[in-house]
């Protein structure tokens, strides 16, 4: 069950400029998929989560079109053949 990440522009210097990263190993949950992502590309980790492992408040992770904040967070289970998008929230002044 392939899982793919969409990588935003700010993080691409840490994914060798790849805007899409496909995981070769399975992941059952969002948290497991993220662990695999920063196993491949360690530089994205601290930009997505804090030192305490919490999702940064203005970063959103979507499974398909659903924001994991309104699902089960990192424990959200992944369906087969899904795409996860890491997106900065529309915020700022």
């Amino acid at each position: 069950m392939p899982v793919a990440f969409y990588i935003p522009a700010y993080l691409r210097p840490f994914t060798r400029e790849n805007s899409r990263v496909e995981l070769r190993q399975p992941a059952d949950t969002v948290g497991a998929a993220l662990e695999r992502l920063w196993g491949l590309y360690p530089g994205v980790r601290d930009r997505i989560v804090t030192e305490q492992g919490e999702l940064r408040p203005h970063v959103n992770v979507f499974v398909g079109e659903e924001n994991i904040r309104f699902l089960q967070g990192f424990a959200t289970e992944l369906p087969d053949d899904c795409e996860l998008s890491i997106l900065p929230a529309v915020s700022g002044g």
């Binding site: 700010y10 210097p13 929230a89």
Partner: protein, 407 residues
Amino acid sequence: MSIPHTPRNPEPAPVSPKNGDVLLLVGTMKGLFLVRSAGTRRRWEIGGPHFPGLSVYAAAWDARDGRRRVWAAPKSEHWGAELCASDDFGKSWKRPETPALRFPAEAGASLANVWQITPGPASEPDVMWAGVEPAALFESRDGGASWRLNDGLWNHPHRAKWMPGGGGLCLHTIVPGDRFGVAVSAAGFYRSDDGGATWAARNRGISAYFLPDPNAEFGQCVHKVVRSPGRPERFYLQHHFGVYRSDDSGDSWEDIGQDLPSDFGFGLGIHPRDGETVWVLPLQADSFRCAPDGKLRVYRTRNAGRSWQPLSRGLPQSLAYETVLRDAFAVDALEPAGVYFGTRSGKLFASRDEGRTWQAVAEGLPPIVCVKAAVVENAGGRAAARRRTPRSRPAKRRAGRRRRKAA
């Protein structure tokens, strides 16, 4: 690792400082500007913005050990804060793949922002300190490649009772030395006499009207502290109401702000050689925090705070309701000393004669939160340029045409 510039972000304008130039590191809410002038400080060239869209509350120049390094701490509201360094005046920036400045897991905290970057003394060219939010001190012994949380301050029994000021609970001021000082808003001034192993609050005499006990041991809202050159036991301190001097390394503080139109302010600058000359920028407070009567005036003492003189020549004197924040005030090391400050409305002012006269260097920058002044070393310069192979006649003609066109 470079910072990506998306098509929607501006490309930073470059500057190429030479030895002896003055370089201002101007951190704003929307990026870092590098502002350059020859040592005459008459004409200024503005480079940037670097890190467009990111706030830069802390920046530093490090010329120790032959470096020509600019440090900056861009903070993305989305992706967090980190330390970046440039050895070519912003043409490229280095940032580690994994941010080096971060709390250890056992601290139970996460970095919110970097408020101060302080290179150590020339005798310890690989020592650096950083002050961060939540309030903590970090130390590097390898020129900023790795950082360690100062446990002595982090585990201080007062810390659980520290309360944030308006800017957050931040360690914003670092005054290195044998008697090492740091300031935290709103916890006050703390000093270590054993190289940072242990710390003690040193706020006696600083009146905190906003506490039930205005003479509390800690809880003061210290905005900025500077140390006197040549007299390490003397500090000056700008408090949330009150300008103070200590002649005993902070053991006691004396109010020296009575002659000022307001003793509230944020920024504070000290002369690089004359420890009795200090500049402040009074703001009307408590909640207004703008230049009193809409007149933008710097005040200077030449006698360690016994009297103050207003300095306004070249500064706007009507409808100038400006605010200057704690780290947006700087002094260079030239003779006479240059004095600089930036405002929340994006105006940058410079004086090349110790505050006697002022010029507006820029208007319309993003809100300015940080100004650092450096005299450039290790960059090569005019003397080096003269030693280069003489140019051919056509090259000289082209250079002449470029100069005339630029003029």
